[in-house]
């Protein structure tokens, strides 16, 4: 009877998962990290995953992928099999374990030794459960410390999630789950200290765009046995410029030889690192937290993002510029971490009294609200934000002889401005006879452009010109009408557009004057079309002062965005006389 009861409960739970519309359910995930006294480590991972739909079976969970370094690590498979719906056990055959090069290591000869073990889960049918239990054994010395930064939410719910971190008693250990109030259960036994967590019914990861740790939508385990975040960073910092190779200086001199100002020199050096050194998208963890010497990137033309940051830092210093290298995090500043928690390394330079944060993979400046960076040289921390994303745009427009002649002046705050000599082309869409002026915190461009008016049944619809930057290009207008989680904007927004439009006598303006104003918890929108004699003056402005949009604010946010992109507020209708 007891067996029947248990079976019934099991069926009921399965039915509940299916009824909730899940594709699959992790019955259990267990992860453990062990640092041994000799410095060796073992990471053990086991999962039980029940498949409910073809979506889960075909494209989501059919394979498991494990990346490792066979020169210092080995994989031990403890068990791998599928229990089919009817109870039949299908052991994963030998030929379903396939070792390949990780895609991120392609075209990177120095990382060609890395492996990805693909485990193809055979025997899957609807209702089947995948069982996989493996360890990655790391030899002493390859990984210095316990260093974990893992998002816990999967695409499907996890019924029972267990995490355990063990190391010799004398070692420090800090651990925390971000976006969770759960505290570790700590214990010490036979000289081994352990932090463990158990999470029940962990919700699946949201598909909503912009769901991150910073938005609060992802639970993330961070744990480290480094004494401090600075201690961890010191192991990276010691690898920068260690070879003191003269070729770095030679290259910096060569790249900056024809440039007079520090700004031009910095443009040239960043352009080289971004565009002439290919990015190998391996993480610091993938490469055992090693950074190849700068000269390797110069002579071979590729490097990881961290290596490119080190090269940029080295080149800027060699070019006589005041550069600093910072570790950039997408997590709360209060959480102590090792190196895996670093989102990227960035380089800060000061030019004309202004500080620029440079990414080694993009000419666009680094900016995310809520993130922080830590100076690898002196341990200083700073909150990263570009402040307001501000655009002030004005256009003098004349509609004549079937054409629109537009004279435009626009100012952009620094978050929009690429760190490049090519800034004018980006901001004006390649307009001819454009000029630009850079002042503290903003760049102003002047240019003219034209377009041909389209006639339709005796009417002309004229679309007001716009920039290729700004909130419209973020695509928020395509976001769904409701949200469960927070939306983090890259920065608070302030955009103001003013237009003065005149037209020929053969056109008659049919758009009526109107004013639309929306003021809500998230911000303010104002649209005003107002005729003054032979012209119409149009003001369009939007301000969003909340960098984090909570679900309760989201309707207000959508109201502003949809009004902002509404066709009625961006067009003039003329009748042809």
């Amino acid at each position: 009877m007891r067996h029947i009861y248990i079976a019934f409960i099991g069926l009921l739970l399965t039915w509940t998962a299916v009824a909730k519309g899940y594709e699959a359910e992790f019955k259990q995930i267990t992860k453990s990290w062990t640092l041994h006294a000799d410095g060796g480590q073992e990471y053990r991972h086991s999962k039980e995953l029940t498949i409910y739909t073809h979506t889960a079976m075909n494209s989501t969970y059919g394979e498991s992928f494990i990346t490792y370094n066979p020169n210092h690590q080995k994989i031990v498979i403890h068990s791998a099999y599928t229990k089919q719906k009817d109870g039949n056990i299908i052991q994963t055959p030998e030929n379903a374990f396939v070792e390949v090069l990780p895609r991120n290591a392609a075209k990177a000869p120095d990382y060609n030794h890395l492996k990805e073990l693909v485990i193809v889960h055979t025997g899957l049918d609807l209702g089947s459960t995948i069982y996989l239990d493996y360890s990655i054994i790391t030899e002493p010395g390859y990984l210095k410390e316990i260093d974990i930064c893992q998002s816990l939410n999967e695409l499907s719910p996890v019924k029972d999630y267990r995490l355990r971190i063990s190391l010799p008693e004398g070692k420090p250990l800090e651990s925390q789950i971000i976006n969770s109030s759960l505290k570790p259960k700590t214990s010490t036994s036979q000289g081994i200290k352990t932090h463990s967590y158990q999470l029940n019914n962990l919700a699946p990861r949201s598909f909503e765009p912009g769901t991150t740790v910073l938005s609060g939508g992802v639970q993330q385990l961070i744990a480290t046995s480094y004494k401090s975040t600075s201690d961890a960073l010191a192991t990276l910092e010691s690898q920068f410029g260690r070879t003191r190779d003269l070729r770095v200086n030679q290259l910096a001199n060569q790249l900056t030889a024809t440039h007079d100002t520090n700004r031009e020199k910095a443009y040239a050096l960043l352009d080289y690192v971004v565009n002439q050194v290919e990015t190998t998208p391996l993480t610091l963890e993938d490469v055992g937290f090693r950074i190849r010497p700068e000269v390797s990137l110069i002579t071979n033309g590729y490097g990881t993002e961290a290596e490119k940051a080190a090269l940029l830092y080295g080149l800027l210093k060699a070019g006589g510029l005041d550069a600093e290298i910072w570790a950039y995090y997408l997590k709360p500043i209060s959480v102590q971490s090792g190196l895996t928690a670093i989102d990227k390394l960035i380089v800060a330079i000061s030019l004309d009294g202004e500080e620029y944060l440079l990414s080694p993979t993009s000419l666009m400046p680094v900016h995310y609200t809520g993130a922080y960076a830590l100076n690898m040289q002196d341990g200083e921390t700073k909150q990263i934000s570009t402040g307001l994303s501000r655009i002030a745009y004005s256009a003098d427009i004349k509609l004549t002889e079937g054409k629109a002649n537009e004279q435009i002046k626009a100012s952009f705050s620094s978050g929009f401005i690429p760190f490049s000599a090519n800034v004018l082309s980006v901001l004006t869409g390649g307009a001819k006879e454009a000029t630009s002026k850079q002042e503290k915190g903003q760049t102003t461009v002047d240019y003219s452009q034209g377009s041909t008016l389209q006639s339709n049944d005796g009417y002309t619809l004229y679309r007001l010109p716009d920039t290729s930057l700004g909130i419209t290009q973020q695509g928020y207008q395509k976001y769904n009408s409701t949200r469960q989680g927070n939306l983090v904007l890259s920065a608070p927004i302030s955009e103001q557009y003013s237009y003065s439009v005149k037209w020929d006598d053969n056109l008659e303006l049919r758009t009526a004057d109107f004013t639309k104003e929306i003021k809500n918890k998230v911000g303010v929108l104002l649209v005003s079309f107002h005729t003054e004699g032979d012209k119409i003056i149009i003001q369009r402005s939007i301000e969003i002062n909340q960098p984090i949009i909570t679900p309760t604010m989201y309707a207000d946010f959508k109201q502003l965005i949809t009004a902002w992109v509404s066709d009625q507020n961006k067009h003039l209708l003329f009748k042809e006389k």
């Binding site: 073809h54 030929n95 390949v100 055979t122 699946p204 290919e278 949809t562």
Partner: protein, 649 residues
Amino acid sequence: MKKAIVSTLLLFICFTGIGQNLSKLLQQTVDCKAYEKHDYVILYDSTHVQVKPTGSGSFYILKSIKIQTPKGALANRVITYDYDPLTAFARFQSVQIQKADGDIIRLDESKGLDYATPARMIYWGARQIMFDVGRLEPGDIITYEIDKKGFTYALLNDTDDDSRFIPPMQGQFYDIVPFWSSAPTVRKVHSVTMPPQKELQFQFYQGECSSSLRFDNGNKIYTFAKDDIMPFKRESNMVDLFDAAPKLMMSTTPNWEEKSLWFHKVNEDYGSFAPLDEAQKKVDELIKGKKTEMEKIAVLTHWVADNIRYSGISMGKGEGYTLHNTKMNYTDRCGVCKDIAGMLVSFLRMAGFEAYPAMTMAGSRIEKIPADHFNHCVTVVKLSDGTYIPLDPTWVPFTRELWSSAEQQQNYLPGIPEGSDLLETPLSPADDHYIRIKASNRLEANGTLKGRFTISAEGQSDRRIRNIFTLGFQSEWKKHLESQLLNVSPNARLVSVDYGKDPKNYQAGPIQITFNYIIPNYAIVGKDEMLLKPLTMNNLYSQIRSYLNMDTSLEKRAYGFKDACSRAVTIDEEIVLPAGYHLLSEEIELEQDSEAAQFTGHICQTDNRIVLHHELRLNKRVYEAEDWEGFRDAVNASKELGEPLIIQK
């Protein structure tokens, strides 16, 4: 062995003249202005194949590339070459860089890397060799040689056990050589040395080259060369480059019948389709109660399509051309197309049908010359009237089709006991893939649009609309549907949507979804007039109307073109106007008719409503260049019906 390499090299150099002519080729890059703007120029691209009586052969590849810009230097910083270790072997023989000042740096060829390539979906252990050339500079010339042996190649080592390099169709050799390039190529040469007893048939397609046949110690040496190959100018939506750009096809196999017979035998000999008790039980369960042969064929095809997932693991020897056996397929429940097709053959046989595998080429044409230009495997089944029909379980998951019409007009070769010539799948009627949208809208005086529309579809159109249910996460279904309206207007509000109780159940009938919505500020409002686009013509379900994304500004086409599938798109929309408003324009009546496509449509005002009717029929998947005019006219007419309308008080 070394001697053999040297003698072959000398032979090759003698034929190609590379030794003497490198500086001449280099000079051509200086003289030819068209090369200037390119990041790098291939000075010389040659391959020589020495074929053995077994059909295996040795490839010798020699390539020289001149770097012209830093971007070109970055693009060539590593050299890679792919091979399949089960049937081939490859290695770098030499790599050297000639600097602009003439200095030559010889790199240590033993430092080449050899590794399993990154993989997804197919895990057969494909390998790649790579050489790290390092950062090059404009003006550098990199030259390298590769030896490769395999089915079509044999390395010059007589002491090794070469059995794995002998092609499965013993004694036969074939090759498919693209003569197009993404970079300017000063000279490309492909030569093949055949043993005396072998006859080679060949044809150069879609262009010209210089060719020769010479005799040497009883061997026959075929050489094909082409100078000044510029990057192929593509047209949007054009057919595959194999169907448009210059290519060389060669084969010793006399005709497709022989290939068909071989393909039949190799799988029968292996026992790919041997019955299995547990699979037989499943077959019996599936066909129970099915009365007609087509009902049985359908249920078996769809079970295999939906339940044998695409993920290929290797069976070891024979992988790539042998179909996994019933036990492996039924146990693993996964495989690539050939294994999924093989599972269906087994199922059909266990149900009493005569069934076989067939090879096909998804994406491009197969020529008359029986070179193995295949990339896909399907199934054929013999009906009671003695005819064979093709079935493709890999391409029909979650669609009621048995042969995917996304593969219509496609060549295939059944591996049947009596042998077969190359066949072609027929056109699939546009009506079998209909999309129907019926919308009823009401426009208010403030520009708000309220209404409902129902979309229904069949065949491949059904599959594309239903994908969100059959492939997507259930938690996202409604969001995807709301996004269809947001694509029309960011102001759109989805009031309700009805997709039935079980939209995943594709067997129940054509998909049908009904939306109810309100779109404030839909029309642009003037003083006494409004401007609006009919909702059904305003970016609604544009992902299944792929023809709308085709560039119809192109007046003529040099090459054939492709659309997703034949289809018939019928749209009816009515918009009730606010009181006092009328449609300003005259009634629009459009009609286009050609063999490739037809369009009829109109917009008019009836009482207080605008009535739109749209009927577009696109009759093929693959079109000839001459079809473009008719196709373009019909699609442009469809687009014209979506132009903004003015209504006036």
